[in-house]
Amino acid sequence: MSGHSNWPEWIYVGVVIALMVWVGAEAWEAERLVEHVPADAKIIKVTGQQWFWTFEHEDGTKEIGELHVETGKAYKFEIESKDVNHSFNIHDYVILMDAIPGRVNTVWFAPTDVGEHDIQCREYCGLIHYNMRGTLYVEEPSS
């Protein structure tokens, strides 16, 4: 404790603090960009309930368990729940937002490539939570 100098520890703590500041600043900058929703984003209503997902497009068409979107467009999900907490997740696009009864959470994305991606529930919601899955189909624009 006493008798020896402590400068290596101070340098070390300084390096750790500097690293944390850097991580925090990078994260802050990235999150700020990610949260900026484009003005022309199309709205898709996402409803979670035990144990499936329902999607409603702006034009009123509804899909259950699958979702069709087009490349080159931005989409904003408005996520809600009918019963217990769920978490809407398209892992390939790092889309994750809880579906909580009584509130609407939003998250957006803009798919770039044609393909199929898994949709799943990532918040424990009971008996068939493990199979509360769906598929996202990203397609070429129709017109």
Binding site: M1, N6, P8, E9, Y12, V13, V16, I17, M20, V23, G24, E26, A27, W28, A30, E31, R32, V34, E35, Q50, D83, V84, N85, S87, N89, H91, D92, V94, I95, L96, M97, D98, I100, P101, G102, R103, N105, T106, D118, Q120, C121, R122, E123, Y124, C125, G126, L127, I128, H129, Y130, N131, R133
Partner: protein, 508 residues
């Protein structure tokens, strides 16, 4: 203690005793029993997830009940009572007092644990250790859920009583010749964690009552159908349980502070920075709770605040790691079993902390949250750091408790297998999380990467399982038939030990 095996007493004498070493022994045996019970559930979970489809656990409901009771058991019935066991044995001796400050309160705090454990195990609830509303209110089957709530209520009271006892013992009953700046770091760790318990637990205690009345239908605090808000529960829960993480980890670090200098044959590099880091952790531990809730729809500002609060805890944890490494630097280290566990625990503590920084960074959290990454992350703390420190300390105190030595070879085999198993299980789970596998799922689609990684995890878990069987055999056999220990210096490293052995038990 040692006399227990040389001059046995009837068991009821120990059970009705209020002496700190007797209560410590009760805590010790109870917590280790729950370690094996909770661990067995983990093996069942891993066996089930070895392949997609239903294997050994027939249905999702049973699986959900198993992981709920697994988590509840190991956190509340193993880690916390084990720390209390160590505290009971060592804290009074370290502050040079004859017993805990309130011996009867001490015994009461212990005796609340068996009925609480019985409620949790007989109920076998399914709503995860987080008891997430509104699921826990409108969907979770009773009476299991209600039994869980009552069990946790009792455990919370037991924790608070124990914490009051440690705080008073350390601050008020220490020897008058001893200043607070001379109290050993292990005792300091109990002071810090007890202070956190006093501040943090009441919040969850309130939330549990609200959950119960919500379940009874007479209130709607967390039930949106009655105008409540489930997010309120999340805040109340994590305001208790993020600091609780430090309640769990700080005593384990304190145990390492006892082991590392002993086997390095050196004083700790910086006693003051150890204290500073404990106190700092206890304070900043309260500034980070909502980093568990980034995905609940928090605003950008809220997320930023809690990210900063979380990152602020990193330098304090890093100071402990530095302290340990600086102590071991250029030391004549004796790698006995306790030392191997402590060093392994530090390595895993560092890994867990590094993963935690990634979690805390807001955009990355959306990739890792509620996936197996998080499972791997906190298990590196609870298993890799806390259980490693605790098991190392159990080996360390074994000669004091039993008067005999454990089998050193078996102890080392136990460590090596557990370390390999822990790395295989929890490092792989991090990667599995990045591949998107959600936590708390009974079954998964046959994605080749998921299958491969789940199989690695299961193999690792089985390695830990086998090593724990070796541990159990070692403990049972050596406590009766092991070589008699030299209780002056059981590990042959010299120096002054704190001897629970010297605690005068009036029953003898």
């Amino acid at each position: 203690m040692v006399l227990e095996l040389q001059k046995p007493r009837p068991i009821w004498q120990i059970m009705f005793s209020t002496h700190h070493t007797d209560v410590g022994l009760l805590y010790l045996i109870t917590s280790v029993a729950f370690l094996f019970m909770g661990g067995a559930l983990a093996l069942a979970i891993r066996a089930e997830l070895f392949l997609p489809g239903a294997q050994i656990i027939g249905d999702a409901m049973t699986f959900n009940r198993i992981f709920t009771v697994h988590g509840t058991t190991l956190i509340f019935l193993f880690i916390i009572p084990f720390a209390s066991a160590v505290g009971n044995y060592f804290v009074p001796i370290m502050v040079r007092y004859k017993d805990m400050a309130y011996p009867k309160l001490n015994a009461i705090a212990f005796w609340m644990i068996p009925p609480a454990g019985a409620l949790i195990w007989l109920g076998f609830a399914d709503f995860t250790w987080y008891a997430t509303p509104p699921y826990s209110i409108i969907s979770a089957p009773g009476p299991a859920a209600d039994m869980w709530i009552f069990g946790l209520k009792i455990l919370g009271i037991s924790s608070v009583l124990g914490a009051i006892n440690f705080i008073v013992t350390i601050l008020k009953c220490k020897h008058p010749d001893m200043s607070i700046g001379q109290v050993p770091l292990l005792a300091w760790s109990f002071l810090s964690s007890s202070l956190i318990i006093i501040v943090a637990i009441p919040t969850f205690a309130a939330a549990l009552l609200m959950l119960l009345t919500d379940r009874l239908g007479v209130s709607g605090f967390f039930n949106p159908a009655m105008g409540g808000d489930p997010i309120a529960y999340a805040h109340l829960f994590w305001f208790t349980f993020h600091p609780e993480v430090y309640v769990l980890v700080i005593p384990a670090i304190g145990m390492m502070y006892e082991i590392i200098p002993r086997f390095s044959r050196k004083p700790i590099y910086s006693y003051n920075s150890g204290i500073f880091a404990f106190v700092l952790l206890s304070i900043v531990g309260f500034s980070s709770w909502a980093h568990h809730m980034y995905a609940t729809g928090m605003s950008f500002t809220e997320k930023t605040v809690f990210m900063i609060g979380t990152l602020a805890a990193v330098p304090a944890s890093a100071m402990h790691v530095f302290n340990f490494i600086a102590t071991m630097w250029n030391a004549r280290i004796k790698f006995s079993t306790p030392m191997m566990w402590a060093v392994g625990g530090i390595a895993l503590f560092f890994s867990a902390g590094a993963g935690g920084v990634a979690n805390a960074a807001m955009p990355l959290d959306f990739s890792t949250h509620d996936t197996y990454w998080v499972v791997g992350h906190f298990h590196l703390f609870v298993m890799g750091t806390i259980a490693f420190g605790s098991i190392g300390y159990l080996y360390y105190m074994f000669p004091y408790v039993t008067g005999r030595m454990y089998n050193e070879t078996m102890g080392k085999v136990h460590f090596v297998m557990s370390f390999i198993g822990t790395v295989l299980v929890f490092f792989t789970q991090h990667v599995l999380g990045l591949y998107g596998m959600p936590r708390r799922i009974f079954d998964y689609p046959p994605i080749p990467e998921w299958i491969a990684m789940n199989q690695i995890v299961t193999v690792g878990a089985m390695i830990i399982g086998v090593s724990m069987a070796i541990f159990l055999i070692n403990m049972i056999y050596s406590s009766g038939k092991g070589k008699l220990a030299n209780t002056e210096d059981p590990f042959g490293v010299g120096g002054k030990y704190y001897y629970p052995f010297e605690a005068k038990n009036p029953s003898h």
